[in-house]
């Protein structure tokens, strides 16, 4: 019989239950959907690494001889060693508006490690000038099998014939070192027969890259040390484990970020749902105090009554859980598809699994039961006699505001009543206040994610890197020469040399492999800023670290760090940290170009590139024409095109943000609607009495709306610092080596969130108006509970 009561109660309050179910469903949909995507990515990637035998250790050297590799094979803990050649070459497509680069990698049919996977065509024939590109690259450059692709290798023009398409576990995300998003018009990886590449680069019998697998993963550090010892006569320009491989670490961080999102975001929605449920159930139970009293008087044990009320929570949890679970299964497919746009992984398809659904359901039930239990337990503690007595009216003392007589006297009667109601029913007011607060914060936070991305791109491309493009040299060039060479070109207004060196920076036992960017101290085109937006000059004898790097090393300004550059014959040295700066894309260290040069072999400032700003009337193509045939120049990157490209990629992300804003809006509406409906239900007898006394429906409505408006004003005012608090939580939890999220919420976002809040407060008020208008005085005053 109690079950019938349950269904009828739910039916009577169907909108309130529906809104709670909806918010739970949203939370779980995100949870299940994101967990499935993580699962799909995890599975596809680990299978891919295993099948293609991704190496455990990678070493990059200037030039190595095959005998050295033979010695490495003698290390007992080493299972396999393979050597490769790689060479950066200039694209020579003849198009006037681009001068990109290709990283050519050697391939042999005998390769057992880091195997490339052929997805179309055939492998390059021995000794032939043939090449494989990735499907993304072929598509972006409108290339087909049989087409030719001209390149410049060491100043010599060569033509490579495209014979197929490949993917590789080393290039799941096809970006250049320091790159952010794939830009296949400017960078690509080409697979060429090893013999042919050796001939092209003059490296016969040599290698400049090697990879190893371990017999025992526990011996990783020992093997690395041994490898370094064996390669003592060779210049090592980079040595890293699989986890530090740029592609691997990028994917790991992407997955780690996704894991955090998959936990925090749904948790946030579930907390809101829990809040709604707690509010709803506790007040529902409070409203049924008399009914509980009679059940107790009849001899129903507490356990049974408790179970009955818990069924409300079970129903909501199950309904929300099932709806959200199915929604999550549906969401997994488009989300996985989104990743196939960036990642070249075979077998990355949406697979359905039961466990996220089961965990999701348990989570939903856990949340709703806790809320239900919290709601029921206070009433159950009462004796039946107490429960049958009506709740004592709230204390009617004077408000503190009333003591300020002058001010109080100025207020209208309606406002005074509303104020008294707000303060005398503190719990109810607090729930409504918190409801509006959560709704507001939820919407601002959803907007914040978009604001942060915009801010990050603006900061990076307009403040930090205030140039039009960068000329990248083949190797290093004397900085003064480089600056003059580019600066004197006709289309260039300003040019500044930049030196970029890979290095390991250490502090005690912490070692971080990163890049050091050496900038001229008086430079205007590439500047770094601290968190407050103040410019920080690169130190002459010291390092300025990005906040993320400083945090990883555990250092602040004034500490000293040890620097080991990856440069031929470069010795390590110590430098003080002179400042910490904001850097939202990637992490790294900055120093002054001239002084840094003196620390390096040769003692002269070296540049790996030049950043430049074009004259207002000049075109990028004019500059490209001017440098295209220079033996010094490898490629030119167009910063504005990079920016456009990354913004285009981000715009796809912003569709996700849009969905998030929609979810936030639905949750907000649910909270406010729910809260005000229950408020109305609690006070319907009071309203009926006022109507009997002679107040019009409009006057009664105004009374409740005044309260709602008062609470909305306070909630929105508190929502501003609240939004910053949640934004900070997100920024801290999402920060990775790839990007840090700035703490920036645009004023417009606060405005939009306020407009949205006002909209659903108005919708809720409209619902109340309908109820006040249709209030049956007789029925309400006859009801007993």
């Amino acid at each position: 019989m109690l079950n019938r009561k349950l269904w009828r109660d739910i039916r009577e309050n169907r909108l309130a239950y529906f809104s709670a179910v909806l918010v739970i469903a949203i939370g779980l949909m995100l949870f299940v959907g994101l967990q499935l995507v993580i699962q799909n990515l995890d599975m596809a990637i680990s299978t891919y690494y295993q099948e293609q035998v991704l190496a455990d250790l990678f070493v990059e050297v200037q030039v190595g001889r095959e005998e050295t590799a033979g010695r490495l094979r003698g290390i007992p803990e080493v299972k396999a060693v393979e050597t490769y050649l790689q060479q950066r070459v200039q694209m020579d497509t003849g198009e006037p508006d681009r001068l990109g680069q290709i990283l050519l990698r050697s391939w042999e049919p005998t390769n057992r490690l880091n195997r490339v996977k052929l997805v179309k065509g055939r492998f390059p024939a021995a000794g032939q000038a043939e090449v494989l590109f990735t499907p993304f690259f072929l598509q972006a450059n409108h290339l087909e099998i049989g087409d030719v692709f001209p390149v410049v290798v060491g100043g010599k023009k060569e033509t490579l014939t495209v014979v197929g398409a490949f993917i590789s576990p080393e290039y799941v995300y096809e970006i250049d070192v320091g790159g952010l998003a794939p830009n296949p018009r400017n960078f690509g990886v080409g697979i060429v027969d090893r013999e042919k590449l050796a001939v092209l680069t003059g490296h016969q019998g040599q290698f400049n890259r090697l990879a190893l697998t371990f017999r025992d993963q526990g011996a990783a550090v020992k093997v690395r040390t041994l490898v370094q010892d064996y390669l003592a006569d060779t210049t090592v320009t980079g040595i890293y484990f699989q986890k530090d491989h740029p592609s691997v670490s990028l994917l790991d961080q992407e997955l780690a970020g996704l894991r955090k999102t998959a936990t925090t975001l749904p948790l946030f929605f579930l907390l809101v749902a829990g809040f709604i449920l707690y509010n709803m159930l506790s007040r529902l139970v409070a409203n049924q105090r008399g009914q509980i009293g009679i059940l107790k008087a009849m001899g129903y044990p507490d356990r049974q009554i408790f179970r009955h009320y818990l069924h409300y929570a079970t129903f909501t949890g199950l309904a929300g859980g099932i709806l959200g679970g199915l929604g999550g299964l549906a969401l997994a497919e488009p989300l996985t598809a989104l990743y196939t746009m960036y990642f070249q992984v075979p077998g990355l398809v949406a697979r359905w699994q039961l466990w996220p659904l089961v965990i999701g359901l348990l989570l939903a039930l856990g949340f709703t039961w806790t809320a239900g239990w919290q709601g029921v337990r206070t009433v159950l503690r009462l004796s039946p006699a107490e429960a049958l007595r009506p709740e004592p009216p709230p204390a009617g003392n004077r408000l503190w505001l009333e003591k300020a007589g002058f001010l109080w006297a100025k207020l209208q009667t309606g406002l005074r009543m509303a104020l008294r109601n707000v303060f005398r029913n503190r719990r109810r007011s607090l729930f409504t206040l918190l409801g509006i607060f959560f709704a507001y914060v939820l919407i601002t936070t959803a907007f914040y994610l978009q604001d942060a991305v915009d801010y990050l791109l603006d900061f990076t491309y307009n403040y930090e890197q205030n140039y039009d493009g960068r000329v990248i040299f083949q190797g290093t060039v004397d900085a003064a020469v480089a600056g003059r060479f580019i600066g004197n070109l006709l289309p260039v207004e300003t040019a500044e040399p930049v030196g970029e060196v890979g290095a390991v920076i250490s502090r005690g036992p912490v070692h971080v492999q990163t890049g050091i960017t050496a900038l001229p101290q008086a430079g205007r085109l590439y500047q770094v800023y601290d968190e407050k937006g103040q410019r920080v000059l690169p130190a002459r004898h010291g390092l300025v670290l990005s906040a993320r790097l400083a945090q990883k090393l555990g250092v602040t300004a004034g500490d000293w760090v040890y620097v080991q550059p990856f440069l031929a014959e470069a010795k390590g040295f110590t430098l003080p940290v002179t400042g910490v700066v904001a850097k939202y894309l990637g992490m790294g260290a900055y120093t002054e170009l001239t002084a840094f040069g003196t620390q390096l072999p040769g003692g002269k400032p070296l540049a790996t590139g030049v950043v430049f700003k074009l004259r207002p009337e000049a075109e990028m193509s004019q500059l490209l024409t001017a440098v295209r045939d220079s033996p010094l120049v490898l490629a030119v990157s167009d910063l504005r095109e990079d920016e456009r490209h990354i913004r285009e990629l981000m715009s796809k992300q912003s569709q996700m943000m849009g969905i998030l804003v929609l979810f936030a809006f639905i949750s907000g509406l649910s909270i406010v609607y729910n809260s005000s409906t229950i408020s109305f239900y609690e006070r319907r007898r009071e309203f009926a009495s006022l109507r009997v006394l002679g107040m019009t429906a409009k006057e009664v409505f105004r009374l409740q709306v005044t309260e709602l408006v008062l609470l909305t004003v306070v909630a929105v005012a508190l929502g501003v610092p609240g939004s910053y608090f949640f934004a900070r939580l997100i920024a801290v939890s999402m920060a990775s080596d790839l990007y840090s999220i700035p703490l920036f919420i645009a004023p417009a976002s606060f405005g939009l969130a306020m407009a949205a809040t006002l909209l659903f407060v108005t919708l809720a008020a409209a619902g109340i108006w309908r109820k006040v208008r249709d209030l049956s005085l007789i029925a309400v005053l006859r009801e007993w509970d």
């Binding site: 009561k5 009914q291 009679i294 008087a297 009849m298 001899g299 004796s383 007993w784």
Partner: protein
């Protein structure tokens, strides 16, 4: 004796103030007896009924039902006591607003050890044609008859009624009392009714007068009237 009490006291601590609702009440009720507890508002009638019915525990004193020490029962035992031994009827009916008449009675049937069928009891109280009506579709008298049916359906020996006619007009009140008396006389159920209305006492075997938490008079009615004989 089906029910007895010895120096039953009940006080409520309301912060710094202590309110004495019962100040030492002695009583005894025989099986099948119809007892009216009469008193003004605030005399402690409802508190006494609540203690007898195991709805709350006394602060001091002893209460026995068929030899069981009600005052020593814990919460769980009191629940069992209410479930098996007591039928309650309240002034404001206290029906579940979203259950029909039959369903409200069925609530009792489902938990009692030896219940009577819900439709049979409803027929007996004259509501055979109202089984599927919700409380809001019933008159006050009909609602109170549902509440009585709900108490009777448990088939328990003791029926406790708190101002059962307090919210009813005279005519309906007579019908309801007639119903209660019938069950007392014909089925031998013990009936304890609390009221402030002196006329109801004329129907009972005994009237206990309660004032300021004490029984001030215990009057045996040698010739109980029938409800229709009472001048209301």
């Amino acid at each position: 004796m089906i029910l007895s009490g010895n120096q039953v006291k009940k006080w409520y601590d309301l912060g710094e103030v202590r309110v004495d609702a019962l100040r030492g009440v002695d009583f005894a009720v025989k099986a099948g007896e119809f007892v009216v507890i009469q008193g003004y508002s605030g005399s402690g009638k409802t508190t006494l009924l609540n203690i007898i019915g195991g709805m709350e525990a006394p602060s001091a004193g002893e209460v026995y039902y068929r030899g069981q020490a009600v005052h020593l029962m814990n919460e769980r035992e009191r629940t069992l006591y209410r479930r098996q031994g007591i039928g309650f009827v309240f002034q404001f009916y206290n029906l579940m607003s979203n259950l029909t008449a039959w369903e409200n009675v069925q609530l009792s049937v489902e938990i009692a050890p030896d219940p009577l069928p819900a439709d049979e009891v409803l027929r007996e109280v004259g509501l055979a044609g109202r089984l599927d009506h919700f409380p809001s579709q019933l008159s006050g008298g009909e609602q109170q008859r549902v509440a009585i049916a709900r108490a009777l359906a448990k088939n328990s020996d003791l029926l406790l009624c708190d101002e059962p006619t307090g919210a009813l007009d005279v005519e309906t009140g007579i019908q309801v009392l007639g119903l209660l008396c019938r069950f007392n006389r014909e089925r031998g159920k013990t009936l304890v009714v609390i009221t402030h209305n002196p006329q109801i006492g004329k129907l009972a075997d005994r009237i206990m007068f309660l004032k300021d938490g004490l029984i001030v008079k215990n009057e045996v009615n040698l010739r109980p009237l029938r409800p229709e004989e009472v001048a209301w």
